[in-house]
Amino acid sequence: MTIDQVRAIARRANPAPDPDALELIDPLPPFDREGSGIMSTTQIEEIESPTPSGPKRAWLAAAVAVAVLAFGAIAIYMNGYQSDPFAGETPAVAQTMRWVAALDDGNPEAAVDLMGTDDWDRDDMASTVAFLALSARGYAAEDCVETPGDGHILVTCASLVIDDPIMEATDLTSLPFAMEYADGLVAIADLGDRSVALRAFSSYAREFETGRFDQVCNSLILQGPSWMTGHVLTADCALLYADVADDVAAWVIAGRPTP
């Protein structure tokens, strides 16, 4: 099934294809009905009337309810836009968690920005990080602690959980993970050894996706940062990895049958 076919199905499945045709019950109170309404800046004086009664009492109850609702909505908004989910962590642990969150988001640029550039070949690093971010479905670091050292800070995490069917098929659901910081920049990022999974991908893709593998992954043909697994670590190769991950996993589980 092509992406265009999937997009066509998605378009047909839209539960509200024409917003203008929706029947909408106006959910907002009137702005200026008899001097009341949530938008009025004078209503507080009216609320403070000592003994509201009759319609005014009803209006007071409604105004308070609306105010609570509004503050609740603002709290959600502020929480969503301004809070840092790693605010309670030490700076180095928070930085590490942000880096993993960037990988989890499939956002290699954000991850690279968090690493600094002093001791890295930026192109190679960016390419490798792009492979990491785009090849797996998700990342989560667990139980990270900071250990200050002589001129550096080491953050070690008990595990880096990687959502990747090939890793699962090769019994590598999580790996130890560490980051070392010097002068506030990442000096070493150790994501553990996932070479078994990378080799499985490489072997499968060479055999069953030869054309695409040669085009975007084959380290013998392409220039690019590569590792001892036979493929380059680039964003394009990561997309092939992600595309065939389920098939590679099934192939590994079936005992790697030859065609």
Binding site: V6, R12, N79, G106
Partner: protein, 188 residues
């Protein structure tokens, strides 16, 4: 704020509301039930009123409002989850809480298959797909809402559509026609 300024602000907000409420409501309907969507719409515009000075001009206004609505709906879902947990606890104590209003959704097989396939994706990928295909937002605005780079949005969407296609294929591909088997001695 003076009365004149207050009146002007109100008037501008009314225009904003009239211009965008249907599209924000449609956004909420696509992610929620009809009843919850009305609440989400209300909360979204209450927040928009409070943050009125921060609302960017078109063409960024709609994406900004979608951002608020998305967070309101997330909070609703958390509340629904808490309600379900409470319900389970009450049932464990032998108390049957009253049922909420029933929601009947009729979907054809293709829509049902799409919904099921969509739910297999991560929440972030689901949102990307919906912003792309249902909200029809430009990729650059999707990137802003999702706090991602445009390239990351493109790549992630590419992967998500591929994954959707793989989930949909076995459900939607027509099965080969097989004639009904005639029973021996079935008579007329």
């Amino acid at each position: 704020m003076g009365k004149e300024a207050d009146t002007q602000k109100r008037s501008e907000f009314e225009k904003l509301y009239a211009s965008y409420r249907n599209r924000v409501y449609a956004y909420c309907i696509r992610r929620s039930t009809a009843a919850d969507a009305a609440d989400a719409l209300s909360e979204t515009f209450l927040t928009a009123w409070r943050r009125f000075d921060d609302i960017p001009d078109a063409p960024k206004t709609l994406a900004y409002l979608y951002g608020i609505a998305g967070r309101v709906i997330s909070n609703q879902r958390r509340a629904t989850g808490r309600g379900k947990r409470l319900r389970r606890k009450l049932e464990g104590l032998g108390v049957t809480p009253p049922e909420g209003p029933a929601t009947l959704v009729l979907l054809n097989s293709e829509q049902a298959a799409f919904r099921a396939a969509l739910q297999k994706l991560t929440p972030k990928d689901q949102e990307l797909i919906m912003l792309d295909i249902w909200e029809e937002l430009p990729r650059v605005q999707i990137a802003e809402i999702m706090s991602m780079s445009r390239q990351a949005v493109n790549q992630r969407l590419h992967r998500a559509y591929k994954r959707l296609g793989r989930s949909l294929e076995p459900i939607l591909e027509p099965t080969p026609f097989s004639p009904p088997i005639a029973k021996e001695g079935g008579g007329a």
